[in-house]
Symmetry: C2
Subunit: 249 residues, 2 copies
């Protein structure tokens, strides 16, 4: 490996640049589990906050990583002309060893970026939409709170029907699986206990665009209701995708 590149990498690490390099290497990880990756060519990224990310040339997820706050040490082995990048996170008790046998490319720079991403169409947006438009549940539904995360658990939307019976709504932004009625059941049982009423007198509703067959069976067995509701951002997008996109720039 060229000494110049190694010096450049050392300097970039010291100066806390954002560093990206391609290298042939093996990887060992030890921490919450243990992981081993045989020799291959990968992309390795190190950030100023000491995040380390290793990507294989396929797939969406990194194959290995260290969370922000690790410490990196670069050790040259002049005998066999290899580099060892050793990363430790003492507080998390995690450890990575990258044994580099070939340095294919290297780039580093100070990147200026302090912006935060804005995301629309989350589950919170969905529960807000239901709170603001209760008629999508039923004309009799009267919401009284959203995101009730304190006493009774994390209830998405909470209210009363025309008979003043309690109504608890669990939102899912995608197809509801078996965990949805499970969650609803847990919230309703807790709520019933704390209010001193019977769980069967609380109405449970799952609001999601779709529900799986099994989840629907469970929902009905527990005497809850499924209400098909699209996430609001998706509805907006359908209506006028281009206008919505333009709004933010």
């Amino acid at each position: 490996m060229p000494n110049k590149k190694i010096e450049e990498l050392k300097t970039a690490l010291k100066k806390k640049h954002t560093i990206v390099f391609m290298a042939k290497c093996t990887v060992k990880y030890s921490g919450r589990a243990e992981a081993f990756l045989e020799s291959g060519e990968r992309v390795i990224m190190i950030k100023p906050d000491n995040t380390l990310i290793i990507h294989q040339p396929f797939g969406n997820a990194p194959v290995n990583y260290m969370k922000p706050g690790a410490m990196h040490k670069l050790i040259e082995n002049k005998k066999d002309n290899t580099l060892l990048l050793s990363s430790t996170n003492n507080s998390l008790n995690e450890y990575i060893e990258i044994n580099i046998t070939k340095l294919i490319s290297l780039n580093s720079a100070i990147l200026n970026d302090s912006t935060k991403i804005r995301i629309f169409g989350t589950e919170k947006d969905m529960s807000d939409f239901i709170y603001d438009n209760p008629k999508v549940i039923s004309k009799d539904f009267r919401p009284v709170s959203r995101e009730e995360q304190t006493k009774y658990g994390f209830i998405d939307v909470f209210g009363y029907d025309k008979n003043k019976s309690l109504v608890v709504i669990e939102c899912k932004r995608y197809t509801a699986g078996p965990t949805a009625p499970q969650q609803l059941r847990r919230y309703i049982e807790r709520l019933a206990k704390s209010k001193g009423i019977k769980a069967k007198n609380i109405k449970g509703i799952i609001a999601a665009p779709k529900i799986t067959k099994n989840a629907l069976a469970m929902t009905k067995e527990l005497n809850y209701e499924f209400k098909s509701i699209e996430p609001p951002a998706y509805m907006e997008k359908k209506k006028d995708k281009q206008n919505r996109l333009k709004k933010y720039f």
Copy 2:
């Protein structure tokens, strides 16, 4: 922006290289949700399988991404000297627009890597450990199967006690939360139904290193049992971390 770099990027895209570049850009995403990221300097990676990943210079997770299988188009705007990288995934109905105002660095190469990571210390390893060492549950426990992926759900370990009562064990690698007794409850209720026996005659055990206070309360309320068990890899690691690491290389 230098024409040479733009041509290099175009060629690399065409040749399906693994590409990494740093750029000042804005990002718009529309798909499962909608996301907007104002101008800033980031690392952008494009893989031969058409994965696209955008990293800000901080944090572990990518700020934006497209899954494998997207299509990328590079459009030059010579008027204001900008580049538009437009990515679409038609089958997933997802879309990203990256507006590049500065190209800071660029590297591309064909990376050879066909290896797959091996991970030890997963939940499966834990259920295998319990199956092979049933005495860690109790001296009377007789396991008959592990990882029972049936119509009843996914049961980690399944067996009988000395009275020939059914025993169902749910494993968690980390602190068990409220979802653990919930899951166990679902498996046991389904199993009881299909076997035509009463759910209360099936013994439920949560095996995990720790359990939260609420989860323990739920566990007891449902007449299940919590058994504190360390994940096996962690135990091995404690015993002789160095030996274990050496074994695999």
